[in-house]
Amino acid sequence: MLKIALRSLLNRRLTVALAVLTVALSVLLLVGVERLRSEARSSFANTVSGTDLIVGARTGSVQLLLYSVFRVGNATNNIGWDSYQALAKDRRVAWTIPVSLGDSHHGFAVLGTTGDYFKYLRYGEDSQLQFSQGKPFEKTHDAVLGANVAAKMRYSLGQNIVLTHGSGEGAMSEHDDQPFTIVGILAPTGTPVDDTVHVSLDGLTAIHEGWESGSASLLSSTGVLAADQDRTLPPPSSITAFYVGLKSRTAIFGYQRAVNQYSDESLMAIMPGVALSELWQLMKIAEQALSVVSGFVLVIGLMGMLTALLTGLNERRREMAILRSVGARAWQIFALVMGETLLLVSAGITAGIALLYAMLLACKPILHEVYSLNIAIATPSATEWLLMGLTLLAGCLIAALPAWRAYRMSLSDGLSPH
């Protein structure tokens, strides 16, 4: 019987292959969307770890998180250096990392900070930044590159680079009077750090001296200011935000209150993890829309298979009748069609998952390079198994229809031709 069934399938191989392909593509979309969603989440979540609070000017908490960590959008206001000094001195604070954003280098963000950035910043599961070459910046005009910056621009240690005033396409003018020397290149992290040029706060102060009007003054463009590398620089008047690590986690909420109620400036402290939770809340609608669409695609795929099966059934009346005549019971015909459909759905699911992994493997470097998205090639998650199970269940329900028809027909048809 099984042999006959396989022969029958082989006989209809084109229709069968197309039915399997439809299911495979639907499953690919359904599981693929889920995979991308969860990977994007963990990619986001891996960017900030070990930072208890981020302090910035008062805006929305999600906005502060996005511009200070993910370099998306801009700060509406900065933090005065005095306020930073005062808040960093709090006895609950273990370390702070000041960050100053706004300049760029060929589209990559330039981040001004201190040596503490390399010491205390954590990503993933508590990993510290590693240097693949060189060391942290020491001098005013030293720069440390993220892995992507170095790879894409083909930079190496000792090379000079010029920073651009402003960011993005609309960046205005170059700080070409004061080139920076590359002293370090960081190992890849899969976070926005890879796309960042790091310089010291002093470096940023130095290149902006004489730029108070927004463009280069004669003094700065002639290079007079740049000539003396070792002069002492005044501290910056402001920074964009600062990350805070506390001595004890239980101090988070007390310190957060202290920042929010800071009287000299209107500031806010956000917990990065909590702000991420809020971000997911916002994204939920978009994610659900995606899931609904891929769910519908699956339904359409299964419907297409059902159509093919039902049409095929008419052509197979003779086959069924012969099977009956050689002794097959009506329930065996039911089981045959049912089993056949389930086999097709299972083959579709397997092919879909195989396609997904093939695509992930092929696209991994592109996803990493273009979207900084690190996709782990891991075994399917619980949710993904559930989706596959649901597909199989839907296949069961759909299979019952042609199986039932075959059962009925084989009873009434007999061998008489119509």
Binding site: A40, G60, V72, R249, L282
Partner: protein, 166 residues
Amino acid sequence: MKNLIAMACIAIPLASFAKEHSHAHGAHVHGVAQIDVAIEGKTLLIALESPADNLLGFERTPKTEAEKAKLKAVTEQLKQAAALFAPDAAAQCKAATPVVNMPSFKKGEHSDIDAEYRFDCTSVPASIALPLWKNFPNFKKLTANIASDKGQKQVTLKSGQNLNLK
């Protein structure tokens, strides 16, 4: 990821509008309160920030004898950590004396009640039951900000739900 970010950017103005002052003064919505939960080692710290209405049923200077009695009773109740939070028994948590700030009832202002509860446990609790749902039925929703060694997150709890810390 860029697409996700783009979507987020569209949604952010909406969110920042709603959340702008949530940390500074607490968004004052009756029925809703915020708890901040921090766990470090074996210390569990819970800070409650709630509109006074959730606990008292009024937000002005108590006038009648009944209201005065209510204020007193609620103040006493808030000083009992067990009336609000119950970490799971396995963690064997001992409550320290809570710090309760009752409102001063300034004219024309919404009043908030702040309280801080500290527990010293023998192990890290896996969940915290919330008797406050039963004792103060005016609570309809809690926003919980959690910081533990598993990271930070925000969860929203509906009446009757426990706070899962896993």
